[in-house]
Amino acid sequence: MSERILGIETSCDETAAAVVRGGREVLSSVVHSQIDEHAEYGGVVPEIAGRSHLRELTGIADRALEEAGLGLEDLDAVAVTTRPGLIGSLLVGVSTAKGLAYGTGLPLVGVHHIEAHVYAATMECESAPYPCIALVVSGGHTALYRAESPLEHTLLASTLDDAAGEAFDKVAWLLGLPYPGGPSVSALAREGRPDAIAFPRYRAADGGGGFSFSGLKTAVLYHLRGGDALAPTPPPERITDRADVAASFEQAVVDSLVDETFRAAGREELDTILVAGGVACNRRLREEMTRRGSEDGRTVVFPSPAYCTDNAVMIAGLGTELLRAGRTCGWDLDASPR
């Protein structure tokens, strides 16, 4: 089967369109990052993101078709991210996709952004890795799923407070490092010792699953205050062990993610683990996951970095699976923040 699907992704601060054939073969992928537009605010501003998507999306979609050497008439469906994400941003993608589908008579497919991240991790595999455990970890999400197929996901655990990427952002702020915190903390961590400070690793008390990074963030704060919860927080330039804090913090996050994921794999008796989302770019996470995998005899699969962050290839890819399953949508297709 070689359906050609146009995918559209506008859930956050990337405007993306891609054409994928047969669910795996990437004919084109265009990603326009808005990062420069949000940089002065230190994070994504929803209204600015929505307007930027509105301005850029048509041109991005045209470019994706042009680079694929196709016209709208050559497509078999239009797939679009419907949830979760920033509602104003999602609506730009959904209404554009509806317009394209209505104007051409093509089927319309709504795609769940997180499930698409999981699918992205499978697109470069030679054979389908199902059933498997999937860890999705990014600035806005930290969750573990059991995936039976590209279309069947059961949520096993998620974060009780902060997403892993957000914990990086907040510790970066304490250490005087720029946003986004993932890359900046990791870069400083390379100069420090990951075993210098024994930060806590959260583990659910009842033996169940779940992530929590709020306690770790507070432990970093108390460490910076010299172990005195009531002392003032020192300015970043007065912190003498910044690299050790960065390295020990990063190690604590990675240990929590790795331990919880392998515990879930053990409980569910699954031998394959997919890791997806922006934090899947983290070097230490990739190393530790791979090391534990070879110790435990489990296969750990990461997407290429370009498919860890938001993109439309994964939307077109999972959209193909949905189309094959007959799960197309009507004109009442709506977006949802969660």
Binding site: G42, G43, E47, G139, D161, L221, A229
Partner: protein, 177 residues
């Protein structure tokens, strides 16, 4: 002392669970149209307290940090709008661009890091200052800021909360040693 601080109730929470319970007690008595401004350091329990408020509003979905999305909406006895002004430039841009309308809704608006966007908050509003007192201990100081038609009902919420027990100090205490 400023007139707006004439009524301060201070509660001591010895664990995250107690912080959540205090939030739940408050959530149970809040009326529609209330803005609750949360002040406090990283790790002082703002999201935990908000999780309790959500429980008190009859919201079943777990409340997680709103930092990434800036605003999370939950449905319960009253809708809850959960804001986060941690990145203040971003929050100001958001409020200036229509986000402030959500503060004047029919439900309850909780704003974390509210000290960074104070001038945007419609008065009167409830303020909760969360302070580190120890590894897991937090002091929560609740007060009504500003005058207006709704001031009396906000003060009644604080009185109801105090009647449930737990307030360390009464009117005009202003803080704890």
């Amino acid at each position: 002392m400023a007139p707006e601080d004439d009524l301060v109730r201070t509660f001591l929470c010895r664990s995250p669970e107690e912080t959540r319970v205090l939030g739940r007690s408050l959530g149970a008595v809040l009326e529609g149209g209330t803005v609750l401004a949360l002040h406090g350091d990283l790790g002082s329990g703002k999201t935990c307290f908000t999780g309790g408020v959500a429980l008190g509003l009859g919201i079943e979905d777990p409340v997680t940090s709103p930092t990434f999305a800036l605003l999370a909406t939950y449905e319960g006895r009253l809708p809850l709008q959960h804001f986060d002004a941690w990145m203040e430039g971003r929050e100001r841009a958001f409020l200036a661009d229509g986000g402030a309308d959500c503060l004047a809704g029919e439900g309850v608006a909780v704003v974390e890091w509210a000290e960074r966007v104070e001038e945007w908050l419609p008065r009167p509003y409830l303020r909760a200052v969360l302070e580190h007192r120890g590894e897991t201990e937090r002091a929560v100081r609740l007060s009504v800021v500003g005058e207006g038609a709704r001031g009396a009902s906000l003060r009644a919420c604080l009185a109801a909360l105090e009647a449930r027990g737990g307030a360390l100090e009464g009117p005009a205490a202003g803080g704890i040693p």
